[in-house]
């Protein structure tokens, strides 16, 4: 109880990085599907993703973090027309 009271006294402060533990992936209606064979690794999707849900290592796209992707579709919209490596699929469809 003392710790709880102190938490109130300190003001609304919580440990950093709490959004990692908060799974927002289940809000999704449409799911981005990435075709790595078409991907040119321009990183536009990584740059524009508002949820940091495009997984990248050493400058190359690895895939989508479906635990945090909300399905906004921005990645598919910014994917260059020549590549067309990302398209949105309604959840529940293959």
């Amino acid at each position: 109880m003392a710790a709880r009271g102190q938490a109130l006294e300190r003001g609304p402060v919580i440990p950093g990085g709490s959004s990692v533990a908060y799974r927002t992936g289940d809000w999704r209606q449409d799911r981005p599907v990435l075709d790595l064979e078409r991907c040119i690794h321009c990183l536009f999707c990584w740059l524009y993703c508002p949820d940091s849900a495009v997984l990248v290592r050493d400058g190359r796209v690895l895939g989508i973090d479906y635990e945090h992707c909300k399905g906004c579709g921005i990645c598919a919209a910014v994917c260059p027309p020549k590549a067309k490596a990302i398209h949105m699929v309604p959840e529940g469809e293959p």
């Binding site: 300190r10 003001g11 609304p12 919580i14 440990p15 950093g16």
Partner: protein, 396 residues
Amino acid sequence: MNALPTRRMALVGNEAVALAWKQIRPHVVAAYPITPSTQIMECFSQYVAEGEVDTEFVPVESEHSALSACVGAAAAGARTLTATSSQGLALMHEVLYIASGLRLPIVMNVGTRALSAPINIHGDHSDVMGSRDAGWIQMFARSVQEAYDRTILAVRVAERARLPVMVCLDGFTLTHSLEPVEVYPDEAVQAFLGEGPTGGSSLLDGEPITIGPFALPDVYMEFRKALADAHARALRLLEEETEAFNAHFGRDLPALLEPFEMEDAEDAVVTLGAYADVVEEAVRRWRERGRRLGMVRLVVFRPFPAEELRRVLARTTEVVVLERADTLSGQGGPLGIEVRAALYGLPTPPRITDAIFGLGGRELRDAELDGFLEAGPRGRVVYLGSKEAGDVPEPA
């Protein structure tokens, strides 16, 4: 009594505040100029430009930004100051609640001024009364010396209460009045204040933290209650810190309210801010004529010292509240409403008249105040010094 080697200087209120800021040596000042407090920023930015103080001075593009920058700085653990007036304080309104809700010890000087419309640059308390429920401690100075003293005191109060503090000085009446001020040595100010805010959460300390996350209905109310509790505790803290200030600087500042000739008073005037001088003179005049009149000058409006006020007014028969703001509720101004609420339930309560005066810088003359105290209208709410509609000239 005063053992410190003080300097006696002639300063207007704004200069005295800027000098206090220099001696406080804040880490961050973010401010935007507005009459009548512009000169605080002018003087202080000059100190910064001349290298007399090592402060990160952030000249922002609006008051909303000014207080937002202060919130960020204070969240990083910086000793943070700002100043504003009137529309500027109104523009800060949203951020005021964030500063207090996050328990950030920001100190803000307010050169109090009327609100538009009609536009008016002169003094009253409409601006700060609009902020009364925003969770800030609100102190009012009655002299330039007090504006200087309370600015220094406010930093320690803010950091120990972990609440933001407004130090209010009446626009023009104090901001632009030249008065002698006892100025303390820089080292004495630094010794009183110590290193900087401690005990709070800082964005710069070790592990990353999130300040101000979402609070849903399961905890929001507890945070608001904790803020109310912090304000309730601030009454005692203000007494302790004012005592420490007085001991350190050899002064005699009142902590919560200042009674004058109240020991045997039958009638009393309750007021706030610089007009206490005018009221005090009226009390002296009436005392010479044999009337047992006294005055209570409130020093803090938030937290409201209801118990102390009740005690000092318990034996009065007539109370006049003189205040420079209105609520437009028909119930009087903010001070009158609080005084009435504080005195409610006394076994023999005084008759209370709330006299709203001095809006938009209208002067209250001695003769007018005496006439009112002698035979003026009594009742719930009076607009003292307001002209009859027929006496207001038609636009040419």
